[in-house]
């Protein structure tokens, strides 16, 4: 329903942005056959020449920045038959219908389409497809109509993604507060609160992962760091933060009120070993290692385990999670990493869990309908979620 509404809202801009040839290749094929015949290029042929390709259609490739033209044709009738068996097709291009036509590419027999990626935006091109026989003779198609490539403003293949994003935004905006101050429970977040609120022997150490800032785990971890700072303020004081990614370092420096984080190394492995030394020296009471991490997640959690403190870990790299489960006292799994920060935050962000619940319910419904559609052989439903190709 949302998608239909979305299409209605966007329809005027879609129409305005589309070039002349947004019809499907099949429609265009029909349209071309009704067009007056263009002049045939003057190319030599002999009596053994194969039948030329028919219905050559040229279209501006949809949903792109221009510079790409699609060619479709019906292969020669001699394909696989007779004395002039087709040896292949050659695509020729010119900037005027009179030529000169220059060869672009040679294609094998059986081919019925070609994507010309070498066109200039805004320049009209004319195409001829030459059918070459195995005996060396050839015949040419009629010269195509002019094809002009243009930039489009909206990628219609991605409307499904736009719909999805709008639904998430809608759920976010609708679910701004928990109804009647109801508490949304994330067991891992509750356990983390208990751990941080307790008095421990050593200091708290915190690592916002080792992945770059492009990893959502790093952003989520820095959000969690704010809450760790707040929760541990009374009992354990400010955590000692160790960073590996320079951007995470810069942002963690912003968050820490009294001291700067320690940048150990940009290399995850060297960082992990440096941290192992630090952990064995500092003997932390609590160690939190949450964020984007690869194999070094295990080295870090093992370092915490060896140093004797309570080890809390979580990585967005799902493959590493089993190692963390084996070595840590508390492991944040999957979405818990992204939700722990907002759920622990006082005020507006506690509804984050509820947003997640509603979105997951929606996905559940979509999956169930998808399974039913697949069983019933309804293919359009799956196509709704396709993003096409570039």
């Amino acid at each position: 329903m949302t998608r239909i509404a979305l299409v209605w809202v966007l329809l005027p801009s879609v129409i305005a942005s589309q070039p002349f040839d947004m019809a499907s290749p099949v429609d265009s094929l029909n349209a071309t056959t009704q067009m007056p015949a263009a002049a045939t290029a003057d190319f030599p042929s002999d009596t053994l020449a194969p039948n030329p390709v028919e219905s050559l259609v040229v279209l501006d490739a949809p949903n792109d920045a221009g510079g790409v033209i699609d060619l479709f044709w019906t292969p020669s009738l001699d394909e696989g038959l007779g004395k002039a068996t087709v040896g292949g097709y050659e695509v020729l291009r010119a900037e005027s219908p009179e030529g000169p036509f220059l060869s672009l590419v040679t294609l094998g027999p059986g081919t019925d389409r070609f994507r010309d990626r070498t066109a200039f935006r805004g320049t009209p091109y004319y195409y001829v497809v030459r059918t070459n026989s195995q005996s060396g003779s050839h015949s040419d198609s009629r010269v195509s109509q002019a094809a002009l490539s243009k930039s489009q403003w909206l990628d219609t293949n991605r409307l499904s993604v736009m719909g999805g994003i709008m639904v998430i935004l809608l759920v976010l905006l609708v679910t701004r507060r928990l109804p009647d101050e109801q508490e949304w429970l994330l067991p891992a977040a509750r356990t983390l609160t208990e751990i941080l609120s307790r008095r421990h022997q050593g200091p708290t150490v915190y690592i916002p992962g080792t992945a770059g800032f492009g990893d959502m785990g790093t952003i989520a971890s820095l959000t969690l760091l704010e809450q760790v700072l707040r929760l541990g303020e009374r009992e354990t004081g400010d955590p000692i933060v160790y960073t590996s990614d320079p951007m995470a370092h810069a942002l963690a420096s912003e968050l820490l009120p009294r001291h700067t984080p320690d940048f150990l190394s940009p290399d995850p492995l060297i960082f992990s070993l440096s941290f192992t030394g630090e952990a064995l020296r500092q003997r932390p009471g609590v160690g939190v290692v949450v964020g984007g991490m690869g194999a070094e997640a295990f080295l870090l959690s093992e370092a915490l385990s060896r140093s004797g403190g309570v080890a809390v870990a979580g990585t967005t790299d799902i493959g590493e999670t089993p190692f963390l489960v084996a070595t840590c006292d508390l492991t944040l799994i999957g979405e818990e990493i992204l939700l722990a920060g907002p759920v622990l935050a006082p005020g507006g962000c506690r509804a984050a869990g509820l947003v997640q619940d509603r979105l997951k319910l929606l996905v559940w419904i979509l999956i169930l309908v998808g399974v039913a559609a697949a069983k019933l052989g309804v293919s359009w439903y799956v196509r709704l979620f396709s993003t096409g190709g570039e």
Binding site: D215, L269, G294, I318, G319
Partner: protein, 281 residues
């Protein structure tokens, strides 16, 4: 007497971790001294990986995106070696990009040696772009504006001056994108490279994260997958080029057996300790 055996078994749980380290070192090192290779049954996804390379035609271009350094090279470099040998043997060409700042020298050296052995010319048959930070940014740029992020290759040549890279425009330039990565870059390739630009991708990964990529194989997001030393060995066998991975697999075999034994002994020791705690004498 029975109790003393149990006591011995229970005491194993307090074994010094350095003894375990020593056992691991022996389990890995000794089989390497006695080089032997075994015949493997390749997984479906390894076969798809090999098929994608085997189908390359002469003159077609592969984008090889590599992310490893000396630390992770043990399972990823054999994949790169076999892949590069196969690509060059088919007279296909290769544009190589490195996503690990500390692996740049290693990767270039490896490919340059293989190219020289196959008689391939730099600039015509292969180009090394080098390293740029921010994997997502580089993946997007390679699709939309390759020259903006790589105006020059790693050797300082202008990319537009080299025959192979004179007209790069996006992933359509490549028949195939082969990602060999130890870390999170492979995920970035799936999200941005395939998810957004529909680049045809095959992936070689470290053993630890291999299973998580299985869902991308089933969903046909990626067309081939080899993971860990086992995946590299399967690929070597499929390509008919037995080399480092197949040899090293024997070391991995003994290490796996040791892990199984450690699990069994660890549990036996745990239960012996529990039984002794509950027994009143």
């Amino acid at each position: 007497m029975r109790i003393s055996y149990l006591g011995l078994l229970a005491s194993l749980s307090r074994i010094d971790r350095r003894i375990i380290y020593l056992l691991v070192a022996c389990a890995v090192a000794l089989p390497l001294l006695a080089a032997s290779t075994t015949r493997l049954i390749p997984a479906e996804e390894s076969q798809s990986f090999h098929r994608a390379i085997a189908q390359l035609a002469e003159g077609e271009t592969v984008l090889l995106a590599v992310e490893y350094n000396a630390g992770t090279a043990f399972e990823l470099e054999p994949m790169v070696v076999t892949l590069v040998e196969e690509v060059f043997s088919r007279n296909a060409r290769m544009v190589v990009s490195c996503f690990d700042a500390q692996g740049v020298g290693l990767v270039e050296e490896t490919i340059a040696e293989l190219a020289a052995a196959s008689g391939k010319t730099y600039g015509t048959d292969w180009v090394f772009l080098g390293y740029r930070p921010s994997a997502p940014g580089v993946i997007i740029s390679l699709a939309t504006a390759p020259y903006a992020v790589f105006p020059r290759d790693h050797r300082g040549n202008s990319l537009s001056d080299l025959p192979l890279s004179s007209s790069l425009s996006g992933y359509a330039d490549y028949q195939l994108v082969a990602v060999i990565a130890s870390g999170t870059t492979a995920q970035d390739w799936v999200i941005y490279g395939t998810g957004r630009f529909h680049a045809p991708i095959i992936v070689g990964l470290g053993g630890g994260i291999g299973p998580t990529f299985q869902s991308f194989i089933d969903a046909r997001t990626i067309t081939g997958l080899i993971a860990g030393l086992r995946g590299a060995a399967e690929y070597e066998q499929l390509a008919g080029r037995p080399a480092e991975a197949l040899r090293a697999l024997s070391a991995q075999s003994t290490a796996h057996v040791l892990l199984v034994l450690l699990i069994v002994v660890g549990n036996a020791s745990f239960f012996a300790a529990r039984w002794l705690e509950r027994t009143p004498y």
